[in-house]
Chain length 241, copies 2
Amino acid sequence: MEVRRRDIHNSDIPIVCRACEARHGGVCGTLTPEQLTELNKHSTRHRLETGAEVIGQGETIVNYSNIMRGVVKLTKVMADGRQQIVGLQFAPDFLGRPFLEESAITAEAATESEVCNFPRPVLDRLMKKTPELEHKLHRQALKELDEARDWMLTLGRKTAQEKVASFLYLIATHIDPESVDMSTFDLPLSRADIADFLGLTIETVSRQFTKLRKENVIRIENNRHVIVPDMDRLMRYASAD
Amino acid sequence: MEVRRRDIHNSDIPIVCRACEARHGGVCGTLTPEQLTELNKHSTRHRLETGAEVIGQGETIVNYSNIMRGVVKLTKVMADGRQQIVGLQFAPDFLGRPFLEESAITAEAATESEVCNFPRPVLDRLMKKTPELEHKLHRQALKELDEARDWMLTLGRKTAQEKVASFLYLIATHIDPESVDMSTFDLPLSRADIADFLGLTIETVSRQFTKLRKENVIRIENNRHVIVPDMDRLMRYASAD
DNA sequence: GCCGCCATTTGATTTTGATCAAGTGAAAGC
DNA sequence: GCTTTCACTTGATCAAAATCAAATGGCGGC
């Protein structure tokens, strides 16, 4: 049984949006072709080098973004430099904090990435007019909240080994939503970033990688490429459910 | 200059809602008197003993709630019993997870509390009809997300002493939004709960309380009543900004 | 191919917080 | 009034992860 799409002709949709809209279910998915065309007039695409900042902690939010490709890390920094990654966003996630003047976090490309930027007032106006859009953003916020709370359990109660296994499991299941085979992937984060995500030091992260490798839970090539022979086994090491 | 309220006569609002609506800005605040009356027809108020469960991890969500009085803790439990409190909700917070079948967390009264329950379908229907209501819930979700991320920094990067000081600061600033004087309050959590919130053991929490007491950052009476002579000093101990 | 740089790993030692084990003290029950 | 109980505190020891300190290894530039 074929389900007919509601949004009429693909040709009504801006060219740059087509590939994106077709592949994923980003926030633009709820918009009519007209709204998409209007939004697209003001939106700009950007390629981000690894480490490029989308927005900094304490800065005024003038743009929202959609991640088209790559991984963006959300970090919080303390006055003395201690750092914690509080979220990882993957394509096609929405990036931004509606209803707040300034950003409480820094958003920074963890890998070479591509984003689509919308001027804040344009999307805010569109949100007021289109309850469906706010609904979509509401869902995304709740998804991020669920993820944040899952991670709080990891940060507060798991051992270093469980933390590292949990991280690998998270990446395996999120890095490529297209792929059916999650057992081989490239890590989007350096050891330093992984440490900041897990609330550990680089050295502890490295030692746990070595330990998981020696116990044949994972194989590692070139420090970044990971192969998981048995995903369930990794999950058990992560004490995940 | 007096600001005239938009919502006509107070007498149009259900009696049980008046005190609540007047005191705080809960989710009901956006509803018209008619909608409030309609919602109130289906809503039920409950007194919760300390420890009473509002909903359990993995259970089907059949109700949403509003906290009228008291503190509710949100917890996650691992298969082996390790536990983490992933959120504290204070009156007049909304309690519930829209758009999801079952709850990923347990919600449980941390103190003797009072909640107002709404059958899920009633509020879901109202949300579809009233974008302002979804907007309010969206805002609440984002607030909880901000709080969760703040806490991730605490869990991942702060020392035991900073964690305990951060907890005290959090309670001081949240327990009684009415009060101007935040320097004296009762702890809504037992030492065991505080440990589960901070990712520590009871013993470590206790030792840090003793240390803060000896350094005159706080005074403690009857294990639960706390006096903070200098809030800025506590904040510095928390490494908060 | 060799050099230098930087990320990562590995090793030795220290520190922080966990664990194990008694105490203390306040409130409830007999 | 005395015991029992339970939450909390305090003390001694242990273990996990941090810190300090080198080594290793991959990669781009020359």
